[in-house]
Amino acid sequence: MAGLDHVASHPKEVEDMVLAARNARYGMVLFLFYLLIYGAFVVISAFWPEVMAREALFGVNLAITYGFALIAIAMVLALIYTWLCRGRAAG
């Protein structure tokens, strides 16, 4: 049964530890930024749920707008992260 032995078939990637450290730093900054906006969403929903009922964009309330924004921001941050890491690697 495949999958029981966890062995790599391809050679391990040779990498620059300086670049790896930079990537990790970018990752941490983006993570902390997202944590902040996700944390704010959770705290507002928990303690001031009535705020979430207020109208935000296009007649849609803050709860839905914020929720969609969290999903969209995750995608944008993932793109930024990939771009930042790729840019450095090329340089």
Partner: protein, 583 residues
């Protein structure tokens, strides 16, 4: 409700499942080596892998569970979508690259890369097993829900069918084919969900003002198991009755009777200003048996589209501190859970390098995020489609599809069924891998030849499959995504502290990791089993009795047990400082 299967849905379903199994066996036959999964992995294109990420991640809980919660309780179901996606941020930005750099391929291997400790392997192996089984329950429950309207079999038969098919797949095919199967499944799931959403928006919203749509409904279950529904014996023959499908709008803004096609924002804005009929369930013990009454309630859309309308989160609308902590606890577990799921991060190793891993994650986040946006529309569409089955939230999305015709229903159900098959296969392989690779070979040091490992692995897969079948029957009727919330809590409590501290705290010791995994796992499991939610939904007490019997102040464990895992790791690591190695 009794669902009558149609020939078309059975045929489409059979074609779909046969195609999936055929594809699975074809790719399995192409790769004979025991390391097939990863041998295939090094060459998989990042885009295929990215969509396969979505296929892996979007399990029955995401499709059936979230849509069901939104359909019955509104916005609260969407909170799970937000939490599940946010978890990918932790996975991509914090855990993925360092883990890939360690060059290890299971959770236990990664944790053990520095220490080579049997204690770590034992704890990580058990944790993988426990999380996999917890994650299996909602998949099996979802399968049982799907089979009912699709093939007309009972929940129990559905669960057994899935269990048998999956054990067959795992025992004969293995994991090599999963990437392609998940790629196809992920693509189809998102594509057809988008089509369904388009149809919901194009149909718009309509008022149902028939008097019977506001009639309460009852089910009396007698001690001998016979059911009386709405005062008549349960059935579809003359003189018998079945529950009516529900879910409608009682008032639209500006006195409208129907809106016609709407834009996505327009749909949400109109629903916010409408009144929707939701159903309150009450269970009573009577002399004749157990009586369940469903009462219609006119609920403002504005209330349904903000947090705090479901039984789980209703405390948010009151001033209950414990309800707020319960909510924060769940959202924390969803945030930290993804990066801690043993079977998810493995997919990072199916591409050739870190750049490809990053790109495939971006594709994965894009696909999963787009799907989660759709879940809100699918759930709200089901809420107002007049097709809901009051006895099962998990059936909302397939029944919504049925309101657009049998063909779409058959396709959506077949995709959902293959979703369950794919996820369950992966989990069973992960669990049996933990038994053979981690527990038997590494911990007990049982020397086995390759063929013996395969044989023991198959036996383990069958045993895990049987456990999954039994639990799938036991947890019948519970919402799939609610159950996955528990799996995330256990995963985040047991695995996240060790994973993060190993990567970012140099003083972490092997004893610290082992202790943190055991403490996180046992504390979160105990917390769940002693919570009011378990007393009510698993041990079947009434809500009032459950609140009284509960041993813990709120039901979701993450807020206490995740920090407890970190604290355990730090304290034990400081107590067991490593001596510098002799040169």
């Amino acid at each position: 409700m009794i669902h009558t299967p149609s020939t078309m849905s059975v045929v489409v379903f059979a074609i779909f499942v046969a195609f999936t199994l055929g594809l699975s066996f074809y790719f399995a036959a192409k790769t004979k080596s025991a390391a097939g999964y990863f041998a295939a992995g090094g060459q998989i294109h990042w885009f295929v892998n990215g969509v396969a990420f979505a296929g892996d991640y979007l399990s029955a809980a995401s499709f059936l569970g979230i849509c069901g919660l939104v359909a019955f309780y509104g916005y609260d179901g969407f909170l799970y979508s937000i939490g599940y996606l946010a978890g990918w941020v932790v996975a991509l930005f914090v855990v993925a690259e360092p883990l890939k750099r360690l060059g290890k391929y299971t959770f236990a291997d990664a944790l053990n890369s520095k220490f080579q400790s049997r204690g770590i392997t034992l704890s990580a192996g058990i944790s993988t097993l426990v999380v996999s089984v917890f994650y299996l329950i909602p998949q099996m429950v979802g399968a049982g829900s799907l089979i009912k309207p699709l093939l007309g079999y009972s929940h129990e038969v559905g669960v057994v069918m899935v269990g048998v098919v999956v054990v067959l797949i795992v025992a004969t095919a293995g994991m090599v084919s999963t990437t392609y199967v998940q790629f196809i499944k992920g693509s189809l799931l998102v594509l057809f969900s988008a089509i369904l959403t388009g149809m919901i928006l194009s149909r718009g919203l309509t008022v149902d003002d028939r008097p019977e749509s506001m009639q309460p409904q009852t089910i009396l279950t007698k001690p001998d198991g016979t059911k009386i529904v709405n005062g008549k014996p349960h059935g579809h023959k003359e003189g018998e009755a079945d529950l009516r499908p529900v879910g409608h709008i009682s008032r639209l803004p500006d006195g409208l009777k129907a809106t016609g096609p709407l834009s996505p924002a327009g749909y949400l804005a109109v629903l916010q200003r409408s009144d929707v009929v939701t159903w309150k369930k009450e269970t009573k013990k009577t002399d004749e048996g157990e009586l369940v009454t469903y009462t219609p309630q006119i609920t403002p859309g504005e209330k349904l589209l903000r947090p705090g309308n479901s039984p789980t989160f209703k405390g948010l609308q009151s001033n209950s501190l414990m309800a707020r902590l319960d909510f924060i606890s769940l959202m924390l577990a969803l945030f930290g859970g993804t990066a801690s799921l043993p079977h998810i991060l493995i997919r990072y190793y199916t591409v050739k390098d870190q750049a490809a891993a990053r790109l495939s994650t971006v594709v994965g986040i894009g696909t999963i995020g787009f799907f989660y946006v759709l879940t809100l529309f699918l759930g709200l569409g089901a809420m107002t489609s007049g097709t809901l089955d009051l006895t099962d939230t998990n059936m909302s999305a397939p029944l919504l599809a049925k309101s657009f015709g049998e063909l779409l229903f058959a396709i959506i159900s077949a995709i959902a069924f293959t979703t369950v098959l794919g996820t369950v296969s992966g989990l069973i392989v992960a669990a049996s891998g933990a038994v053979v690779h981690d527990l038997m070979t590494s911990v007990l040091r049982i020397q086995m030849a390759d063929h013996s490992k395969v044989r023991v692995g198959k036996i383990a897969a069958v045993i895990v499959g049987i456990i999954a079948i039994l639990l799938g029957i036991l947890f019948k009727g519970m919402n799939a995504t609610f159950l996955v919330g528990w799996a995330f809590s256990v995963a985040a409590s047991a695995n996240l502290p060790s994973l993060l501290m190993l990567l970012f705290w140099k003083r972490t010791t092997k004893q610290g990791i082992t202790a943190a995994i055991f403490v996180g796992m046992i504390s979160s499991l105990s917390w769940i089993l002693l919570s009011a939610d378990s007393f009510e939904k698993v041990y079947k007490y009434t809500a009032a009795q459950a609140a009284e019997l509960s041993w813990v102040p709120f039901s979701q464990p993450g807020l206490v047990t995740i920090p407890l895992g970190f604290l355990t790791l730090v304290v034990v690591s400081l107590m067991t400082k490593q001596q510098p190695l002799e040169s």
